[in-house]
């Protein structure tokens, strides 16, 4: 095209590039092995001499996987086949010019982050702005300075390869986390299991489980025992995320092995604690509430390892009453012992168990302080909803109340057990 030359500044012979003279063979080898050598570059220029010059320049820079196209249409066709890591794009070409080609490239999600280095003899500011508006990544003007062009090509390729690695890592990690999350959800009782349990025992169970990231440190379990009794437990590992989630799998295995049928809740916690103490490093622990619903005796027997206080509501009550959650968390002291406690559970009574996320919601409070919702705040929210005969609606409403109270930045688990009247 007119005005598309001269192509190389005469004094810029690649052999005399400053910086290259001092490069040791080792440094040069480094540059060849950092991924750039294998990079693919597409040269788009209608001038054959230009293309050959650029090709020679890239080859001297260690980039040998190069294809050429003579206009935009040709280049777009080549994209599909060649899948370049960088496009060196002339702007003024017959048929489809560089501006339009760049726009079309950017319209395709696959090429949205591909580096496009515009090289043109158009050297007015408006031309550069037009090129950037069309989606160019960078711009060099002819006559081409060999050192500058190679430096820019290297920078953009390196950035592109790093970004691609990062995207691959990100999507692989996301896929793995989603798989792990579905595995973690399978630790929990399914809705059909809960429906069976209700039919069998007359105790309806509603659950809310929301990890604060893909994986959480909370889990819970429930099982029917002889005599119409029900064992239930709720666990909250310190911290959250992947580390805490891995611990939930360990503890799930321990809970399934420990025989909860014969033991009291306190003995069950002590047994689980002994096994967990051998596994956890200092600084990691779990709080846990283990309980037995005994419909014949009409009581809820429980033991707590530093769990939240269970809340009990009896028909006719204004507000739920609080049990006692105190106890040494699991995994701290192998010799720890736990205390059996009791709450009445007549027909129509309701039991609410929850992880500490529900009471650690920051509510701001006076003088911009650090007040949290607290268990009395939670009990007050519950009080307004306990009469709702629909347990699922009650729990969903309460979770809504909690989110309205303030941001929740920890795993939130909440269980509602209703003994049919």
């Amino acid at each position: 095209m007119n005005g598309d030359g001269p192509e190389l500044e005469p004094r810029q012979r690649p052999r005399s590039e400053p910086g290259r003279e001092t490069a040791s063979p080792a440094a040069e080898a480094d540059q060849l092995t950092d991924g750039i050598a294998g990079a693919r570059v597409l040269i788009v220029d209608d001038n054959r001499i230009n293309r050959h010059l650029l090709l020679a320049l890239l080859e001297r820079g260690g980039i040998t996987s190069v294809e050429q196209a003579e206009d935009g249409d040709d280049a777009l066709a080549c994209m599909e086949r060649f899948k370049p890591d960088l496009v060196l794009l002339d702007l003024m070409m017959p048929q489809l010019d560089g501006f339009e080609m760049c726009r079309r490239l950017r319209a395709d999600p696959r090429w949205r982050s591909l580096p496009v280095l515009a090289q043109s003899s158009l050297n007015r500011v408006e031309d550069r702005i037009r090129a950037f508006a069309a989606g160019a990544t960078d711009y060099v003007t002819k006559p081409i300075n060999a050192v500058e062009l190679l430096a820019r090509v290297r920078i953009h390729i390196r950035k592109h390869l790093m970004l691609r690695d990062l995207e691959r890592y990100h999507s692989r990690t996301r896929a793995e986390l989603m798989l792990a999350r579905s595995m973690q959800e399978r630790l929990l009782p399914s809705p059909s299991r809960l429906a069976e349990l209700e039919a069998e025992t007359g105790v309806a169970v509603q659950a809310h489980f929301a990890p604060s990231s893909e994986l959480g440190g909370d889990f819970w379990g429930i099982q029917t025992l002889p005599g119409g009794r029900i064992a239930v437990y709720l666990v909250d590992f310190s911290g959250h995320g992947v580390g805490a989630a891995l611990n939930t799998f360990r503890l799930d295995a321990i809970c399934r092995q420990a025989d909860s049928t014969a033991d009291t809740p306190a003995a069950f916690l002590a047994a689980v604690n002994r096994r967990l103490c051998r596994l956890l490093p200092t600084g990691q622990f779990a709080t846990m509430l283990a309980g037995l619903v005994d419909p014949v005796a009409g009581v809820f027997r429980y033991a707590s390892a530093g769990s939240t206080a269970p809340m009990l509501w009896l028909p006719g009550d204004e507000a739920p009453r609080l049990g006692d959650g105190s106890g040494l968390p699991l995994g701290l002291l192998a010799s720890a012992s736990y205390e059996d406690r009791e709450l009445p559970l007549p027909p129509g009574a309701r039991l609410f168990l929850y992880s500490d996320a529900a009471i650690e919601i920051p509510t701001g409070g006076q003088e911009g302080g650090h007040q949290v919702l607290d268990d009395t705040g939670l009990a007050a929210l519950l009080a307004g909803r306990m009469r709702d005969p629909d347990g699922a609606r009650l729990l969903a409403g309460l979770v809504g109340d909690l989110h309205a109270a303030g941001p929740i930045d920890d795993d939130l688990t909440a269980l509602l057990l209703t003994r049919r009247g």
Partner: protein
């Protein structure tokens, strides 16, 4: 969370301020290092200005206790109030770490 250390004759008093959560992991590691360095045998964590602690924060206090024991020092928690006191009480941390009012 931030902190200040005052080394006295018999003990070093570390005043923790703000919120102690998982995000303070690095900072608490540094603090534990500093507590190991000073001469005092009794290392007191003054919690009166600590407004909030989560389970990860409790875990870090337990790590501090172990590190002090390894360095032949004693960790003491002092003057917890509000949410911090409630959490320490519920978890019966006094069974593991001495707690003073």
């Amino acid at each position: 969370m931030d902190y200040g250390i005052e080394v006295r004759d018999q003990e070093a008093v570390v005043c923790l301020r703000g919120r102690l959560t998982f995000n303070d992991h690095g900072k608490l590691r540094t603090l534990i290092g500093e507590m190991g360095q000073n001469r005092a045998r009794r290392q007191v964590l003054d919690l009166s200005s600590l407004e909030f602690v989560d389970s990860a924060g409790i875990g870090m206090l337990l790590i501090a206790r172990e590190e002090m024991a390894n360095a032949d020092k004693q960790l003491i928690l002092r003057a917890a109030g509000g949410q911090v006191k409630r959490v320490l009480t519920v978890a019966q941390i006094a069974k593991i770490v001495p707690i003073e009012d």
